[in-house]
């Protein structure tokens, strides 16, 4: 079974709020000094799912693709160290500042270039912008089904059976292959890379493809050609005000509190 996993490198979500900064004028997040970026937390789950499916199928290949700067190679290496077979880094100056749709276009092109695939797995969302639309975009561009937010994935008679996470329960659906499936944290703990696999990963090569390799033209690249325009980026100001309710009895205090809450439409 040939599986492609898309992984993303993001700023460490555990970064303490004190070292997190937003440049409101430039509409950019200023990377925290000295805190290295990490693999998007959902993506190792997608890699884990790929490895389990490959193991269950008794063979195949897991190819990892990441679009990002040179440092995104580390996100690929993490997947290789978990046991994935090959890595491809999509790296081009034209990828800087692109949006989810442009990313989906580039990923879809790369997946077509890889050619052989039965299944494409991604994390349910990237924990930096938390949009979760790239899986749908890629599936649409490739003209194949997309199943989102999976907690379990099984291959049954040439189809994929996916248990999806809903707000209040689960839903099991089937889709023909190839398909795109986005994997949620409910899938379970990803394996930690073993030393032996890490040593093997060091020997695996990571191919680098640029925009030209993917056949992307200038009008598909760069911040200028975003579909989605970022209007403003700011950290919301949270203000807290304390008001002590004075009254003669607890009942009276409770009555005043209830009135205030109702006035503010909180109850």
């Amino acid at each position: 079974m040939n599986i492609i996993v898309c992984v993303k490198q993001i700023p460490d979500p555990e970064t303490p709020a004190s070292s997190f900064r937003v440049d409101e004028a430039a509409k950019k997040v200023v990377p925290a000094q000295g805190i290295p970026p990490v693999v998007n937390p959902y993506d190792p789950q997608a890699t884990e799912a790929a490895l389990r499916l490959k193991e269950a199928a008794g063979g195949g290949k897991v190819t990892v693709i990441s679009l990002g700067p040179e440092s995104a190679r580390d996100a690929i290496k993490h997947a290789l160290a978990m046991g994935a077979d090959e890595g491809i880094l999509l790296n081009d100056p034209g990828f800087e500042g692109i949006d989810n749709f442009q990313t989906a276009v580039a990923l879809a092109k790369a997946i077509e270039k890889v050619g052989q695939y039965d299944l494409i797995l991604m994390g349910r969302a990237a924990a930096d912008w938390d949009m979760g639309v790239v899986p749908m975009g890629v599936a649409t561009l490739l003209g194949i089904p997309c199943v989102s937010i999976a907690k379990a994935i099984e291959r049954v008679d040439g189809k994929v059976r996916v248990t999806r996470v809903l707000d209040d329960g689960f839903q099991t659906v089937e889709a023909p292959l190839p398909a795109v499936v986005s994997v949620s944290n409910e899938f379970g703990e990803p394996r930690y890379p073993q030393l032996r696999q890490i040593m093997l990963a060091a020997k695996k090569t990571v191919q680098v493809w640029n925009a030209a390799d993917l056949g992307l033209s200038a009008d598909q690249l760069g911040e200028a050609n975003r579909w989605l325009k970022l209007e403003a980026l700011y950290v919301p100001k949270v203000e807290s005000k304390v008001e002590i309710i004075e009254a003669d009895s607890p009942e009276e205090k409770a009555r005043i509190l209830a009135q205030k809450l109702r006035a503010d439409k909180l109850i």
């Binding site: 580390d74 290496k77 993490h78 073993q194 030393l195 890490i198 040593m199 060091a202």
Partner: protein, 382 residues
């Protein structure tokens, strides 16, 4: 400056997660029990390749470079207790280096491979009731009888001693005194005549079991000897280098975490109109400790570079062990102090860290023994 590769950093995360998931949740329980389930934990560690980082893959090792050992130590040192990291590093870097380097193929198949798989727990048995710092005065004797050694003696303060499946034992194999006439011998603990005399109660490192062991006419094949007969002292002196280095790496990881946690606490704790961290005295004291820790780390990395280059690192390893033994006490004391009354409470990590920190200046060669070595390496003998 040392630059770790992406692979090194992935390994660091693996060890950190192992510590956070497999050690820390049980640290309180194991500290209270005075021991930990070595066989169970070592098997989990082995699965991730943590027990044989640099050893030959032919025996189940990882074949990795020494920087992975540096990382292993630093990350184990971040555990919530000192005992378990010590027990693990006894297995990886104190009881097995000589076996891996000078043991016969058969001996390695029989003992090293299961140790790296976590199926066997190992102890290093050097210290005796009447011989600690002065290793040359050990008395345990292995008398040759045909194809066997018949061993008599006792060993004390032996880490993993109540759970060990085999000991890497230093014993005399000929009556001449001093440095000569000693050999390193693998002694399986299921032999008649071997017994755990008692499990020792300690000031700290409670989660690690420490034992006094007695050997009465314990018979082992002569082929259980590591290297040449009579070379034991020299082999053990080299094995001590590994022991000292891993102890230093572990201490560095522990100290860095202790400072991080103390800073986080002082940032929140308010007194005299602001966070305690805003006090200049506190800032300067911590800054100075950070300088000391970083200096030690760079010294340790210089030693590690020497190991990678295949050099004799006795000088730097000894300096680092000495420095670490002293510094860890200062760091633990200061962190406890800056937590005030809370720092003295058993519920706070500082109390355990304070206790555990006292060992490094004694175990693996006391501070004064390091100074003794340094008088030689630095040409201070009159």
């Amino acid at each position: 400056m040392v630059k770790f590769t992406a692979e090194h950093e992935i390994f660091r995360r693996t060890v950190r997660e192992f510590v956070e998931k497999e050690i820390n949740p049980y640290a309180d329980e194991w500290e209270a029990a005075g021991t930990f389930p070595a066989h169970e934990l070592f098997k989990k560690a082995a699965k991730l390749g943590l027990l044989g980082v640099e050893y030959d893959p032919a025996y189940g090792g990882g074949g990795a470079d020494h920087w992975y050992t540096v990382i292993l130590g630093e990350e184990l040192g971040r555990a919530d207790c000192g005992g378990v990291p010590m027990a693990i590093t006894v297995q990886t870097d104190m009881a097995t280096p000589a076996l891996a380097k000078w043991g016969s193929h058969e001996l390695k198949k029989q003992y090293l491979e299961p140790a790296l798989k976590g199926e066997m727990v190992a102890s290093i048995a050097v210290t005796e009731p009447d011989a600690g710092s002065d290793v040359a005065s050990i008395k345990t004797f292995a008398r040759r009888d045909g194809d066997e050694y018949v061993i008599n003696g006792s060993k004390i303060y032996i880490t993993n001693g109540t759970q060990a499946d085999f000991l890497t034992l230093l014993a005399r194999t000929s009556p001449e005194g001093g440095y000569r006439g000693m050999s390193l011998i693998i002694v399986p603990t299921d032999r008649p005549g071997f017994r755990v005399a008692r499990k020792l109660r300690k000031l700290g490192n409670h989660s690690s079991d420490t034992a006094e062991l007695v050997l009465e006419d314990v018979r082992v094949p002569v082929t259980n000897r590591i290297g040449e007969e009579g070379q034991g002292f020299y082999l053990q002196m080299q094995q001590f280098q590994k022991e000292r280095l891993i102890a230093v790496y572990t201490a560095i990881g522990g100290m860095r975490r202790a400072i991080e946690r103390t800073v986080a606490y002082l940032r929140e704790r308010k007194a005299f109109g602001g966070p305690l961290l805003s006090m200049q005295y506190i800032q300067y004291t911590l800054a100075e400790l950070i300088v000391e820790i970083e200096s030690l780390r760079q010294l340790a990395y210089a030693a590690a570079e020497g190991v990678v280059a295949g050099e004799d690192v006795t000088r730097l390893a000894t300096m680092a062990k000495f420095k670490a033994g002293r510094l860890v006490r200062r760091v633990a004391d200061t962190c406890l102090q800056f937590h005030g009354g809370l720092g003295y409470m058993e519920e706070m990590w500082t109390a355990r860290y304070f206790r555990d920190s006292r060992l490094l200046g004694i175990g693996g060669g006391a501070d004064e023994v390091m100074l003794r070595v340094l008088t030689r390496t630095e040409g201070l003998e009159a």
